[in-house]
Amino acid sequence: MSATRNEMGGERAPGDLAHALHETEPHVPVFTGARRAELDELLTRYPTKMAALLPALWIVQEERGWVSSDAMAEVAQVLELTPAYVKGVVSFYTMYHQHPVGRHFIQVCTTSPCNVCGAEDVVNAFLKHTGCEELGVTSGDGKYTVIEVECLGACGFATPVMVNEKFIESVTPETVPALLASLG
């Protein structure tokens, strides 16, 4: 299935990295050892296995950086669901990546409250300083992907930016270069 949608779904990132639904090497199971124990503990919190689906997908993304089709199949098998069902859930929630993304996945809020505070200038500053040619397309060295996201819930601290799991407040075009330098 083609992963690029029309402009509404802008943040799907096919990237220069393989626009891949599959991993390039055979899938190594995620839910072994400590991760399996973590899932087992989570399962005690809910009366159904299905309720552990979002937490399980987070474990996958923490381990592998994205959720591949093979990972979806593994999660389905572990939670006794079908792969199609898991795919339906993964594709609903925008925080799960269905493709590999840049090492630093930069998400800039541009919804109206931040928009009136210059969020679009922050986006342009990121594009300029990361060398990414356009939104959603990973930089040639695989280091950065820049996307616009919807309200991050830090409107009074415009403009908020997330880099992977890191939440940074009050970013301005002037502070962008230092921010990027701090990422390493």
Partner: protein, 522 residues
């Protein structure tokens, strides 16, 4: 039903009483009012997402989705009030903004609910001026192709595969106006009942590959029938054009198949159009089978039977009427009959009680049993030396045709002429197949159901009961079997299992034979 609380309400000015818990949409049906809808289907769990079924309920602050709203005592419902019409017009307009105007090339045209309701209640012109969303066509496996652009996201297909087929291989993928139906690679619509999603799809998003671009809906003639491919007896519709069967589709019957039909049944229609038919009577003269007219052929067959014992090798795909008369013929000569049922893998539809593609791959095995024929894996073993073997539409493909060698004479009454019969048959009488005549089948639960004629038989082939009636007359037995109805009524009068039934009384829903198997669906 005892103690069901009834609720009275008024819909479009008509008062109606329905059981408590009925939806307004179903109550409207009972009142004779069709509320336009897409996602609702009586065979699927309620979704309430298309928002097409919105109606105005007096004293309620908002319009109600009638498929998902239960009736209440004294409710007054307006289906065609200005507010309701505006709302539905709005839904139709929204559905059409991304929907490609593919009607000229879309198979669904002519039987498309989007066309129908737009024509009935939609805007005359669209106001959308922006680019439409695009998604590529996808092969969903089995007989199904998914044209994503046309999809209106009613989710009937997803709910069918999940709740009825218990094979949740379809899902809604993505969100917002990017949403479409998705599946996982490697998981296809190969479930034996998956083809039903094509019928369920209100628009041309899910299409049959087999029927793709073959015929326009309005070119087709439709006849009610019963699927002959197994003993379940799903009710179906035979669709023909220019005397060719183009398509088979399920016909609703709450007691047998609900709204569904399996892929094996629906896709196996080509044999109904086969060209290698025997279409003229044949009589062996001077060692060669030569065409003859009916009079001569019938007299020749009767002559062969005179003073001899007949053994009937019957096909379990023959109608009750044909089998009844064959039984008469056998009994008259002091003979018997047997039949064999080809087998296949059973494939249930788990979400419906007692519905499956049955292991018995023939329409009327039960009927043959009730009419006194013996079921056997080696049906020819009952043939006595010197008997007249009547092969009734049985191709003998899987049987050892050499078993027929001990017969004194062979009469073939059938739709085709099997290879071995070219040398062995003395008389061949051509008959119509089940799409070319009318009659009845009895399904595995003992339900007798009528099938109607959908197309003309080839050449001078005649309905089976007609030919057998004539043969009985030629053999000195009374006639009076000119129609299927007469034959069935005579059958009902003489076979205890069918007591009390009449051909007219069967209607198009069928009726149960006496002493039907315990635990059978009513």
């Amino acid at each position: 039903m005892a103690d069901v609380k009834m609720v009275n309400l008024t819909i479009e000015g008509r008062t109606v009483a329905v059981p408590d818990g009925t939806s307004i949409l179903e109550a409207a049906k009972a009142a004779g009012v069709l509320i336009p809808h897409y996602c609702y289907h009586p065979g699927l769990p309620v979704a309430g997402v298309c928002r097409m079924c919105l109606v105005e309920v007096e004293k309620a602050p908002k319009l109600a989705p009638s498929c998902a709203t239960s009736v209440a005592e004294g409710q007054v419902v307006h289906v065609h009030s200005e507010k309701a019409l505006e709302a539905r017009k709005g839904v139709l307009e929204m559905l059409l903004i991304n929907h490609p105007l593919d009607c000229p090339i879309c198979d669904q045209a002519g039987e498309c609910e989007l066309q129908d309701y737009t024509y009935q209640e939609g805007r005359a012109e669209g106001r959308y001026r922006d680019p439409k969303r695009f998604n590529p066509v996808e092969d969903f496996g089995g007989d199904v192709v998914y044209v994503a652009n046309r999809c209106i996201l009613c989710t009937r297909c997803v709910r069918f595969m999940d709740d009825v087929a218990h094979d949740p291989v379809l899902t809604v993928a993505e969100r917002g106006d990017r949403a479409l139906i998705g599946k996982f690679e490697g998981e296809d619509l190969t479930h034996p009942w998956a083809g039903n999603v094509i019928d369920l799809c209100p628009v041309g998003a899910l299409l049959s590959k087999d029927s793709l671009n073959k015929a326009r809906a309005w070119e087709l003639d439709r006849s009610a029938s019963v699927c002959p491919h197994c003993s379940q007896g799903c009710n179906m519709i035979v669709e023909t054009r220019d005397n060719q069967v183009m398509r088979l589709r399920p016909r609703p019957n709450e007691a047998v198949n609900k709204y569904f039909m399996c892929d094996h049944g629906r896709l196996n229609y080509r044999w109904m159009n086969r060209q290698d038919r025997v279409d003229v009577p044949l009589v062996r003269q001077a060692g060669v089978l030569a065409s003859a007219d009916w009079e001569i052929a019938l007299r020749a067959a009767a002559a062969l039977l005179a003073g001899k014992r007949a053994f009937v090798l019957a096909s379990p795909n023959l109608s009750n009427e044909a089998l009844f008369l064959l039984g008469r013929l056998a009994k008259k000569t002091g003979g018997t009959g047997a039949f064999r049922v080809p087998q296949g893998a059973e494939a249930p539809l788990p979400g419906v009680e007692d519905l499956a593609l049955r292991a018995d791959r023939a329409a009327n095995g039960r009927g043959a049993e009730l009419l006194g024929f013996t079921r056997s894996e080696t049906p020819l073993s009952g043939l006595g030396a010197g008997d007249v073997l009547i092969v009734a539409d049985e191709e003998l493909a899987q049987l050892d045709a050499s078993g027929a060698a001990k017969a004194g004479a062979v009469i073939v009454i059938g739709t085709t002429l099997p290879a071995w019969a070219r040398h062995a048959a003395n008389v061949v009488l051509p008959i119509a197949n089940c799409t070319e005549e009318e009659g009845t089948f009895t399904n595995l639960r003992g339900r007798v159901q009528r099938f109607l004629q959908a197309k003309a038989a080839p050449g001078v082939a005649r309905p089976s009961y007609f030919v057998l009636g004539d043969l009985l007359a030629a053999a000195g037995e009374g006639s009076g079997f000119w129609t299927a109805g007469q034959t069935f009524d005579a059958l009902a009068a003489s076979v205890p299992a069918y007591a009390g039934l009449s051909y007219d009384g069967l209607g198009l829903r069928g009726a149960m034979t006496q002493g039907a198997l315990a635990g059978a669906s009513a």
